[in-house]
């Protein structure tokens, strides 16, 4: 499979169903940026290094996710609006197993 479907609720509460390639070495933050689901400069500020938390999402669906790395854990411990289902989208590679993933963008902070 080379495309999966991802449902994303943006910061204004609008839901978008988008197609995501899994053969381009892309992560979820890059997907959000490529569909311009948040204004430029408000998401992916550290370029995907788990250093800014601007890409925080809540995982709504019950997908099995890879465990958080130490860096992701550490950054989330400093971020705001963090919930149990918070993840840094830049640390989530787009893979076939994430088909039908449902996420919501955390507020900007």
């Amino acid at each position: 499979m080379s495309d999966i479907q991802v449902t994303i609720t943006d910061r204004a509460g609008k839901t978008h169903k988008v197609s995501a390639p899994t053969d381009m070495n892309m992560n979820l933050m890059e997907l959000l940026r490529s569909y311009e689901l948040a204004p430029e400069g408000t998401i992916g500020i550290c370029g995907g290094m788990a250093m800014c938390a601007s890409c925080q999402v809540y995982i709504i669906s019950s997908h099995e996710m890879e465990a958080k790395s130490d860096e992701e854990e550490a950054m989330l411990s400093e971020a705001f609006y963090v919930k149990d289902n918070s993840r840094l989208s830049c640390q989530i590679p787009l893979e076939d197993s994430l088909d039908e993933l449902v996420v919501e963008l955390a507020p900007e902070s």
């Binding site: 500020i45 550490a74 705001f80």
Partner: protein, 355 residues
């Protein structure tokens, strides 16, 4: 009033390199940056990370790139207004611009180059009621003058390098230093973590983890903070700390800020420019270069910022000296003439007969 030929807003790689290109044209520059140090994103976000796509450098640390740029522009003696945000711009009757910072410093120049990147870095503020009330009345987000904290009770919060570094520094200045962090693990450089551990062991620093500040208060000034700590078995204790200062260090995030109100055409949080020509904005005399601009095909890369800075300077020269002719000269041929009297040029070839 600080007067210069090109006033640059933003000391990131683009703004810094613009000083060099302007210097080749014998134009003087002054740079304003909201951060206390030059380097923009390279210095603030990723100084220790390697960059692989700077032409001629197979690999260079972002911090080293900034150091090299500072060295490269030194002969052109740029002025710096650091730690101040450019807030307003006014065009004078003679066509020059006056840019004023949030601290009231005024700068005048015939050309303004905005190299503001993603915007000026502003502190990420914790979500506490009352926070705004105590700003500058005990709550500060950046430490500009450590002497302010001499013999005071200081509470810091955060788990990154800044929180650790300032904890170490203030341990020798303040009367009492407390560091609160949500986890037991810290994200900073290993030796900073070890230093804080040592200071804790010596009783010079109070470390409260895993904990959070839940409220702050005081009469006219900040007087106390409430801390919520979770014990190993999930039990929660909540207590008050008497403090004079609270310094939350949760990183900085860039915001386009006041530039957005300067009458410039803005698209997608960036300033629209006349693409292929010279990166001039809709207001003649004001240019936007580097990450801060947008045009069809724009790429936010350091090398693109360098290119844009170069074209901007050529156009600025023509604007400042409309009657002077200029021919592009290679630095290998013309060398560089610093404003400090220094001169760099290729050594002359040795011509000698062999008999």
């Amino acid at each position: 009033m600080i007067k210069t030929d090109i006033l640059i807003i933003g000391a990131g790689p683009t703004g810094l390199f613009a000083v060099f290109e302007a210097g080749l044209l014998q134009l003087k520059c002054h740079i304003i940056d909201a951060l206390p140090q030059p380097g923009g994103q390279c210095a603030e976000i990723y100084p220790k990370k390697p960059i692989y796509d700077i032409p001629g450098f197979p690999e260079i640390l972002a911090g080293d790139l900034v150091d090299n740029l500072m060295q490269q522009i030194a002969p052109f003696q740029p002025g710096f207004t650091l730690g101040e945000q450019a807030t307003t711009i006014d065009q004078q009757e003679d066509g020059t611009f006056v840019v004023t910072t949030n601290k009231g410093t005024k700068h005048q120049a015939p050309v303004v180059a905005i190299a503001g990147g993603l915007g000026s870095f502003e502190p990420r503020k914790p979500l506490l009621d009352n926070l705004a009330i105590y700003e500058d009345k005990g709550v500060e987000y950046m430490i500009k003058d450590p002497e302010k904290y001499r013999n005071k009770r200081v509470l810091l919060a955060g788990g990154g390098d800044s929180a650790l570094d300032w904890t170490v520094f203030l341990a020798n200045v303040a009367e009492e230093v407390t560091l609160v962090h949500r986890r037991n693990e810290f994200r900073g450089a290993l030796d900073s973590v070890e230093k804080v551990q040592e200071l804790k062991n010596q009783g010079k620093v109070r470390l409260i983890t895993p904990a959070e500040i839940t409220a702050i208060g005081g009469k006219d000034q900040l007087e106390w903070a409430s801390v919520r700590r979770e014990g190993a078995k999930g039990e929660v204790e909540e207590f008050k700390l008497d403090i004079d200062h609270f310094i939350p260090l949760f990183g900085l995030s860039p915001k386009l800020g006041p530039i957005a109100n300067w009458g410039l055409e803005i698209e997608k949080n960036a300033i629209k420019v006349d693409n292929t020509l010279d990166y001039q904005t809709n207001l003649p005399g004001i240019y936007a270069i580097g990450d801060v601009n947008t045009y069809p095909g724009k790429l936010k890369l350091i090398l693109c910022g360098f290119h844009e800075a170069t074209l901007m300077c050529q156009s600025a020269y023509r604007r400042i000296h409309p009657n002077k002719r200029y021919v592009l000269k290679y630095t290998t041929v013309g060398g560089i003439q610093g404003f400090d009297g220094s001169k760099k040029e290729a050594p002359k070839a040795v011509v000698k007969a062999i008999v």
